[in-house]
Assembly symmetry: C2
Homo-oligomer: 336 residues x 2
């Protein structure tokens, strides 16, 4: 029987351990949860870890002692259920060849779905609808609203895991998809690749940002680019606020020419009383658009993509197949 172990620093983090996930692990083997790991000595923790075949780590876990590299005992695989791992997994374990994986592209699911919600809500003017009903009106003026994804020219700025997931969601709607990403070797089937942000904004009616933030991309969505979008054009940003010249965007929104759905801003929020809080053509979601179904005391009522990735990788390990999202020393050194 496969022995699995998780050492929580104090209590298990509820979000990481929905019942349905724990039940699925129990179908695979034995899973031991050690709580209050902070009260264990390093030797006690090493002894526990050396006695298991698979160690599960993630939020709220105790760091793995570096000494595991020299003598892993029974340990064959460290499955990090979440993303960032430098405070938990020692570089020595990776250098020693113990396979270590993380959640890989799992977070893309929620972010891409959130971006789709913002795109549809912007096109259908849902905030303007709410305002109109609240104020005693009913129908919206024919000339100031509407839009379908069907037939729309959609531009994707950044085509990593999230951008690709977004393109999958977009596919059955029947739009024309253009992609700008100088860092990828290919774009998804059926998408048109463009060579510059100029071209992307020139040809698109809605631009969805899925790029990373770096010195090259900071404020890369400029006033000049925004001016290329047509009247009622839409900008969606669920990536990082710093990618956009926010003053320029807000000027376009205040004039009513563009529409936007923004999960992220730069800085993170708007001060109370800021006029943009009231604009009907701006949907703001306070970096919460990717949130899952209300939890039961913090515990998800279902498996999340990170749990699916974890279960898939454990099965791969047991079958002797290649793992997904394996960490190597070079990536580990670059990660934050």
């Amino acid at each position: 029987v496969t022995r699995m172990l998780h050492i929580a620093a104090r209590e298990r983090v509820p979000r990481l351990w929905p019942t349905v996930f724990v039940d699925a692990l129990r179908q695979i083997g034995e899973i031991e949860f050690a709580e209050n790991g902070h009260a264990l000595t390093e030797d006690e923790r090493l002894s526990l870890i050396r006695g298991c075949r698979i160690l599960l780590t993630g939020w709220g876990t105790m760091p793995v002692p570096a000494a595991i590299a020299g003598d892993p005992g029974e340990l064959g695989y460290i499955c990090h259920v979440t993303g960032e791992m430098r405070r938990v997994i020692p570089a020595e374990a990776i250098a020693a060849g113990i396979p270590v994986t993380n959640w890989g592209d799992a977070p893309a699911t929620g972010v891409a779905e959130g971006a789709m919600a913002l795109l549809l809500a912007s096109l259908k003017d849902l905030r303007r609808h709410a305002h109109t009903k609240r104020e005693g009106g009913w129908r919206l003026d024919d000339e100031t609203s509407g839009g379908w994804i069907y037939g729309l020219n959609v531009g994707i700025y950044g085509c990593g895991a999230i951008g690709r997931r977004f393109v999958e969601l977009l596919r059955p709607f029947g739009s024309t998809v253009r992609v700008y990403d100088p860092y990828v070797t290919d774009v998804p089937d059926g998408c048109l690749r463009v060579g510059s942000l100029d071209e992307l904004f020139e040809e698109s009616e809605a631009v969805v940002i899925h790029a990373g933030l770096s010195d090259e991309t900071r404020k890369s969505v400029t006033a000049e680019l925004l001016a290329k979008l047509p009247k009622f054009g839409v900008l969606i940003n669920t990536a990082r606020g710093g990618l956009v010249d926010q003053d320029a965007l807000f000027a376009e929104l205040e004039s009513g020419r563009l529409r936007a759905g923004l999960d992220v801003l730069d800085p993170d929020s708007l001060p109370p009383g800021h006029p943009a809080r009231e604009w009907d053509n701006l949907i703001l979601t306070a970096h919460q658009v990717e949130r899952e179904w209300p939890t039961d005391g913090g515990q998800p009522t279902r498996m999340l993509p990170m749990h699916e990735v974890c279960l898939d990788n454990i099965q791969r390990f047991l079958d002797g197949r290649a793992l997904r999202f394996t960490m190597d020393s070079e990536r580990y050194a670059r990660s934050t």
Copy 2:
């Protein structure tokens, strides 16, 4: 060269004739637009119609004289670009074997997309977000909001053209889809068929209504069914308001237990001052959720699905292939 004709009662209805559609027709043959058809005698109209190969009808067109049935001249096909046709096309033309088609399932595209917008906006609590930002708050409380389609149990009530289109849009999100429709012989691939509305509401976290209104379906979404949905469960209705026991639904919304997105109500709108106009867990779109991109003086800036259906059918007619959405005498007699 193929001669095509449209006789407008007065001016052409802009929504029916976007430039890109007219240009596509001109690629196929000659298209004549006769305006102020109301000023023509019946004989003048008959003479015009007998001289064309394909007659295009739709909103704002002059009725086709019944005498066309006895002597159609060159006329080989009547392509009705929109839906309802009894005030325009005489039963005699259909009985005489002149092929007549309408827009078929074209309206499903916009309605299904609208339903998806409402489902996502309800799950992400976009109206509550707008309210919170307006009032000077920022983040939403963790325990009262959120939801992904990924992993969600979605129930589809009614699986005709719109329900099927909705299922296509839903597919890449990765939900579990249950379908209730006693009138269809099969359900789309990958969907679970359930035998009753009881079962649909018992097993679903979100129910999306795509059923028709009839004596059997009127108020078929009862208080008892709504009570089966879990806390924060979602009801979406873009079909007909009369399908739902609205008092029961409003009681569930007022208590905050459920969430809803409603494009249709019974009756059509809420009086000014009705409390439901202010509920953050209710998104209302005044039967406008299917509206396309803002028009240029009433003229769409792109082709709509009805134009695609029309072009496809004209090409089929010219190629001698079977037409889609052909009207026969029996369906015509039943249509409204």
